[in-house]
């Protein structure tokens, strides 16, 4: 399978993937599963089996970007530019393509009907032959003869359907494609975005900032921090907006937690013994992640993972709870964190603004040796009596 960079669309500060081939690569090559979140047209009245788009968590996105396996698209801007350059000619072409597609569909439909009829005819003919056989005792020659006559029949029929019958218009299917891939201008625009480092960096900054700092989580009081501001402004302007009333302590805490989770995923995939593992969000199990030894479609998970900062106090009750939960579902409860580097940190640890903090975070993200710091402990319930 081709290993290529996957485009991740940012919409409403969510990371989405719309193309099925991309989803396959993510799953099979990069071991990133995400969550399917769109209605499945074939079964639209349930919510367990869903379809495209695939939603990725921020940890998965940061992991992919840090490993150079994905890039971000600000879909709104791309669509905007795409729309600007869309001409009437393009509309003509598109409609013709649909119509061609429709014609193909009609052909297909007619063929199916023909084949069904044909098959039925075959069956009855065969029966008749067999009855004849019993009385006359001939065999193989008949089969050959049938073969020829079938072929002729088919050729005859297929001649008929080339003229599209207007009464067949009801067979036209108006299809909504999943993604814009394949639309000429679009692909070209996205190529540019992929290779523009400045743009990628700005997008990453905005995406992370909107995740860490928002209206209600107590990190900042400012109420309008939309990613749009960052795309059309420079980063300097964003600084001015972003530092007002930011609780740096809280921000740091959130950054630490976030990087722990990303490092964890990196460490899992970088080691040979665990390279086949899959890491999924674990909310259903009351934890951050759940780790599978192989594709979750086929295997049960073995570990439930929670993250803590290196010097954070962990309430004993959480151990009790985690241990119980894990044992109840036959898994191990794991506590993971990042061991801080040596004392150099004190000198540069204090960043003065939210922007510096996030910039620092992004730099750390791309630091190749990051996953060496990850430390994991498993907790097993021993019990007595």
């Amino acid at each position: 399978m081709v290993k290529r960079k996957i485009p991740i669309t940012i919409v409403g500060n969510r990371a989405l993937v719309f193309d099925l081939p991309d989803i396959k690569i993510l799953r099979e090559e990069y071991h990133v599963l995400g969550v399917l979140s769109g209605t499945l047209p074939v079964a639209p009245q349930q919510s367990i089996f869903l379809s495209v788009p695939l939603q990725l968590s921020i940890e998965e996105v940061l992991y992919l970007v840090a490993m150079g396996r994905a890039y971000l698209i600000h879909e709104k801007q791309v669509t905007h530019q795409f729309f600007e350059t869309w001409t009437d000619e393009d509309t003509e072409k598109y409609l013709n393509k649909l119509w061609e597609g429709h014609k193909k569909d009609i052909k297909q439909k007619q063929r199916e009907i023909f084949e069904k009829r044909h098959f039925f005819l075959q069956k009855t003919k065969k029966k008749q032959q067999r009855n004849k056989q019993k009385t006359e005792g001939l065999q193989s020659d008949i089969g050959k003869e049938e073969g020829i006559s079938n072929h002729d029949l088919l050729a005859e029929e297929s001649q008929k359907e080339i003229e599209v019958d207007s009464s067949n218009i009801n067979l036209i299917f108006y299809k909504t494609e999943d993604s814009s891939r394949g639309l000429s201008n679009y692909d070209w625009l996205v190529e540019i975005i992929q290779h523009s480092d400045g743009f990628q960096r700005r997008m990453l900054f905005g995406y992370i900032k909107n995740h860490l700092i928002n209206k209600y989580n107590g990190v900042v009081d400012v109420s309008h921090l939309e990613i749009d501001n960052l795309i059309y402004d420079t980063i300097d302007n964003a600084v001015a907006v972003g530092t007002a009333g930011v609780d740096l302590e809280k921000l740091r805490h959130r950054c630490d937690r976030l990087i722990s989770s990303v490092r964890f995923i990196q460490s899992i995939h970088s080691r040979a013994e665990t390279s086949q593992y899959y890491v999924l969000p674990g909310l259903k199990f009351g934890s951050k992640f759940v780790v599978y030894p192989g594709d979750p479609l086929r295997y049960h998970s073995h570990h439930i993972v929670n993250f803590f900062n290196w010097d954070e106090e962990i309430d004993l009750m959480r151990f009790v709870n985690g241990g119980r939960l894990a044992v109840g579902v036959k898994k191990l409860w794991v506590v993971s964190g990042i061991k801080p580097k040596e004392k150099i940190k004190d000198a540069e640890s204090s960043s003065n603004s939210a922007t510096e903090e996030i910039d620092g975070f992004i730099n750390a993200l791309f630091d190749g040796n990051g996953d060496k710091e990850v430390v994991n402990f498993s907790v097993e319930w021993a019990g007595f009596g």
């Binding site: 709870n321 985690g322 009596g385």
Partner: protein, 452 residues
């Protein structure tokens, strides 16, 4: 459990608190309506009126502010020792028909045996294990022993299942080997052979799966394979030998052959409740001197037990964990619930309507302070919910409103200088009154089940 069993249990564990009532009568509190033209109802009315007068006067007396007071100060109080590490211990005496510790257990399920799961049964079990006791029947077995039995059974069951799985793996390996060979082979005859082999192994696999499924029923397995406890009856280990008291003056028939290693441990909230509210215990520090702790001193001890260092009284803010826990504990105990530690499930308390042997706890209490700070992390909540839901209980958030620091300190100061016991009791009650408890429950809502 059977009806008969339940009735028996209910009569053993009749009392919700370790208080001896003078006149233990279960009365109803409804004054019957008087129908003017019915003279019989007048009589009913008069008799229950008298009853209720007595009751009211009793309430009146107690409502002058005292939380409670016992008849006699010295003889009936149970001795509790507190260690340097703030562990509250009640000794379990052997030989007496019902030791103090057992009294505390049987009347309200206070405390926990430190070498048992809840009720102190270590002595009994060890006697059986070391074969110091004669024959025993299955229904005498304690909870711990029954669990051990079940675990042994389960182990055997798992071994059987594992052997099935190994066979299955072997067959799968064979299939994979055939598939590999199929790629190299070309003659039609060999292909056919492999097809047949494949089908055969496939069938075997299906059969094996069927067989292992039939053996999934643990109950059926249980009834067909009987497992025993305490089968080994050889010489004792040195550790076990050290437990036996070899006193030549004691005859064989005497029960006091084994040392008692177990004691009943009380939670700080339990110890404080027994002293403050019921006046049923007197607490002594284990090591330093023999002076009984006053209520205030006990309070200090309890607050400190949650931390590794001592906080002077004047620095307390009123929202320390012990205070929140005690307010909740006191509330539910005084409302007739049996309140026990919830550590088993990662919560603060468990509520039982009648007690652990009779039914499982209906509610789990999670105590939080009702401050402006938001409720916890959703991940923590979700994980708690999973565990609690899996054991059929309801998770109740108990949010405690605390008094302001100044109010708290003022009352504490008054308590410190108040010498009269009655007045002090009033002040404690006043302090507790400052704590307001609000309950909240989050129930799961499933869209597919709520459509109709």
């Amino acid at each position: 459990m059977s009806k008969f069993n339940k009735k028996r249990l209910l009569s053993i564990y009749k009392n919700p608190l370790p208080i001896d009532l003078i006149y233990d009568n279960d009365i109803t509190f409804v004054i019957p309506q008087v129908v003017a033209h019915n003279p019989v109802s007048w009589i009913f009315f008069a008799s229950s009126y008298l009853k209720n007068c007595l009751e009211i006067s009793g309430q009146l007396i107690n409502n002058t502010g005292k939380v409670h007071q016992s008849i006699d100060n010295s003889s009936q109080k149970i001795v509790v020792k507190v260690s340097d590490h703030d562990v509250f211990k009640v000794e379990i005496e052997i030989g007496t028909p019902e030791s103090d510790a057992i009294k505390l257990w049987k009347n309200g399920f206070f405390g926990k045996g430190i070498l048992s799961r809840s009720e102190p049964t270590w002595y009994e079990r060890t006697e059986r294990r070391l074969h110091l006791k004669d024959q025993y029947s299955e229904k005498d077995l304690t909870s711990e022993e029954i669990t051990a039995l079940r675990r042994n059974e389960r182990k055997k069951f798992k071994q059987l299942r594992e052997s099935y799985e190994n066979q299955q793996l072997e067959l799968e390996r064979q299939i994979s080997a055939i598939i590999d060979r199929q790629k190299i082979v070309s003659t039609k005859k060999e292909m056919l052979e492999m097809e047949n082999d494949l089908k055969r192994i496939q069938r075997e696999l299906e059969d094996l799966k069927l067989l292992s499924q039939q053996n999934q029923d643990f109950r059926a397995f249980q009834s067909s394979h009987k497992v025993k406890l305490y089968e080994y009856a050889g010489p004792l280990r040195p550790d076990d030998n050290a437990l036996i008291i070899n006193d030549p003056t004691i005859s064989d028939k005497d029960k006091r052959k084994l040392m008692q290693l177990e004691y009943l441990q009380l939670m700080p909230v339990e110890a404080f409740f027994l002293q403050l509210a019921l006046d049923k215990v007197k607490v002594f520090p284990e090591t330093t001197g023999s002076n009984e702790l006053s209520t205030l001193e006990l309070f200090q001890r309890c607050v400190d037990s949650y931390y590794s260092s001592t906080t002077p009284m004047s620095r307390l803010a009123g929202n320390e964990k012990f205070l929140l826990d005690y307010a909740v504990y006191h509330h539910y105990r005084s409302h007739g619930w049996c309140v026990r530690s919830g550590v088993k499930f990662g919560v603060d308390f468990l509520l039982y309507e009648k007690g652990p042997p009779i039914s499982h706890a209906q509610y789990c209490l999670h105590v939080v302070e009702n401050s402006g700070k938001n409720m916890e992390d959703f991940v923590e909540y979700s994980s708690l919910n999973r565990v609690i839901g899996g054991v059929r209980k309801t998770l109740v958030f108990v949010c405690v409103d605390v008094p302001s620091v100044s109010t708290f300190q003022k009352i504490m100061e008054k308590i410190a200088i108040e010498k009269d016991i009655t007045e002090q009791q009033k002040l404690w009650k006043k302090l507790l009154n400052q704590y307001n408890i609000t309950e909240m429950v989050y129930r799961r809502w499933v869209p597919s089940r709520n459509r109709d």
